[in-house]
Amino acid sequence: MNVTAPMVGKLISLDVKVGDPVKKNDVVATIEAMKMFVKIYAPADGRVKEITSSPDSVVNPESVIMVLE
């Protein structure tokens, strides 16, 4: 399952590592946009399979930040 951002912003941190188990609504990354830190939540329970973005990159609602399995 792909994790995407709800809005355009600069990725400032990845808060999990490949292999980490996550629960639905856990914070998995943070972006900075519109003068705010915006948390990205896990859309479902699972495990981080792959991280497909890097800090300081700009993400948007169509870019995949990481993949859960």
Binding site: M7, M34, F37
Partner: protein
């Protein structure tokens, strides 16, 4: 007993059996109550009176001649809910699958007309297999009767739709055009077309739940306002919501003794908001602490989560609450959030429910995604709704309230009667960094030490404008208050505004960006 009395009893008993034993058993197997069980649970015991149980279709085409459809597939009547009169129509899936034909529609429409004329809320319980195709144009025209009746009643009486079973096709405009839509988690479905039609017309394979279930409408489309677990939960939550409404637009909502001191201070609010201005927090924490007894009935909690809307009481007064949610997308207002707020504000205005607006929002969302979706015309709905609204409006600025979002969340001159701000509030046209980089662009570029000049200029701008005092000096903020005083100030303000009246020249409507 006279024969004719016996006949009446027999005829009524037959109708009360609905679609018969087998159909009723199937209804139960599907996890649903029957229409009559729903009605019985919904109304105060013994108060329900049925209207037109004998109404019957007149169709003869395609096997309809002489076909018996008990109560025409919809049980209609009036009775008391929480001690107040309510009109209801409950579709009966056991009677020819609750299909919507000419007289089924007529019953529905007449019930709404009567509710409108008597000034009582209407509640529709949807559970229908769709249009009764055998009746052709008569069915289609009956949809028009229904839509016309509910439209003409809109803004006069509260109308609630309960999706307890399927409601597919054009009929689905019926729930959506009412004020609030409840949807049962496992059995409620709504859509412009079901999976079979989507498959034949578009070649798309999709199941009913994905296309028309709660995820589709309470999360993605925003058509559903309240997700409920089952029939019982649905009817209970509906009664709960009705408590916040007046019977019609000429009344105020009933005031309730809640036992919560209106002058209560909330010391936990002092220092609750993170000092680092980029850090989010959950706005619910503030709401639960300021409303009477922490009781808040949230509307559309899973759609456009960047803004929170719902009903609560302050000093026993039913109040509509609109609040930014910094925890989701930083509380920015996007197209969906604007739609959610605008319709909620319009409802409260129609039914004399005062509004409390809690700001912590950086902006209307910028960038190509929202620009092209039309953030301007969607955001405009908020401005229109707030400026149009004549009910009491109290705004509280917690932290950020910038630019268009300050206006969109209801500021002094977009309609707030009273505006309060916390000491943390920053109310201005734009953030200091952006402002400095525009105003002093040349100076910074030409300086020997641009970073130093930039930092100085940002600080100057911040000191002048990033606070609540510059707006308070102009009278756009009525007072800067301690967070702990928020509840007390809101309750006192609503006391002051109790008999607010507004006179405006006649016009048909404002041309809201619909």
């Amino acid at each position: 007993m006279r024969e004719i009395y016996k006949e009446l009893a027999q005829r009524k008993e037959k109708i009360r059996q609905m679609g018969g034993e087998k159909a009723v058993a199937n209804q139960k197997k599907a996890g649903k109550w029957t229409a009559r069980e729903r009605i019985e649970y919904f109304f105060d015991p013994g108060t329900f009176t049925e209207i037109a149980p004998f109404l019957k279709h007149r169709s003869t085409a395609f096997g309809m001649a002489g076909k018996d459809v008990p109560a025409e597939g919809v049980v209609v009547g009036y009775g008391k809910v929480n001690g107040r009169m309510v009109m209801a129509a409950a579709e009966d899936y056991t009677a020819m699958a609750g299909t919507f034909g000419e007289y089924h529609g007529k019953k529905f429409a007449q019930a709404i007309d009567m509710a409108k004329e008597m000034g009582i809320p209407f509640v529709g319980m949807n559970d229908s297999g769709g249009a009764r195709l055998q009746e052709g144009i008569d069915t289609l025209e009956a949809y028009a009767w229904l839509f016309k009746s509910q439209n003409l009643a809109s803004g006069i009486i509260p109308q609630l739709a309960l999706l307890m079973g399927p409601c597919l096709g054009g009929q689905a405009y019926h729930p959506v055009m009412q004020d609030f839509v409840f949807q049962c988690r496992k059995t409620g479905f709504m859509g412009i077309a079901g999976p079979a039609f989507v498959k034949t017309q578009l070649g798309v394979d999709i199941d009913l739940e994905t296309l028309c279930g709660i995820e589709a409408h309470a999360v993605k489309s925003g058509c559903t306002h309240v997700v409920v677990e089952d029939d019982k939960d649905c009817l209970e939550k509906t009664k709960e919501l009705l408590n916040f409404f007046p019977q019609n637009n000429k009344e105020k909502p009933a005031r309730v003794e809640t036992g919560d001191d209106p002058l209560r201070l909330v010391p936990e609010l002092d220092g609750l908001v993170p000092e680092h201005t980029l850090m989010p927090y959950d706005m619910h924490e503030i709401l639960f602490k300021i409303v009477d007894n922490g009781y808040f009935f949230e509307i559309s909690p899973d759609f456009a989560k960047n803004v929170i809307v719902g009903f609560a009481r302050f000093n026993g007064r039913s109040t509509g609450v609109v609040a930014s949610q910094p925890n989701w997308m930083g509380g920015v207002i996007d197209c969906n959030a604007a739609d959610k707020v605008a319709r909620f504000v319009r409802f409260c205005d129609l039914f004399n429910i005062p509004l409390v607006n809690i700001h912590d929002t950086p902006a209307f969302m910028i960038g190509p995604f929202e620009e092209w979706k039309g953030i301007l015309r969607h955001g405009a709905k908020m401005l229109y709704a707030y400026i149009d609204a004549t009910v009491p409006k109290v705004s509280v600025i917690i932290r950020k309230s910038f630019a268009g979002a300050y206006l969109g969340m209801c500021c002094k001159d977009t309609g707030a009667d009273l505006v309060f701000a916390w000491p943390e509030a920053t109310v201005t046209i734009v953030g200091a960094e952006t402002a400095a980089s525009v105003i002093f662009a040349k100076e910074i570029k030409g300086a020997e030490n641009p970073e130093e000049v930039k930092a100085t200029r940002i600080k100057e701008y911040r000191d002048l404008y990033e606070n609540p005092y510059s707006a308070a000096e102009r009278g756009y903020i009525d007072d800067v208050i301690m967070p702990s005083e928020t509840r007390k100030q809101i309750c006192s303000a609503l006391d002051l505004l109790e008999n607010k009246t507004v006179a405006r020249p006649w016009r048909k409507f404002s041309n809201i960006n619909m």
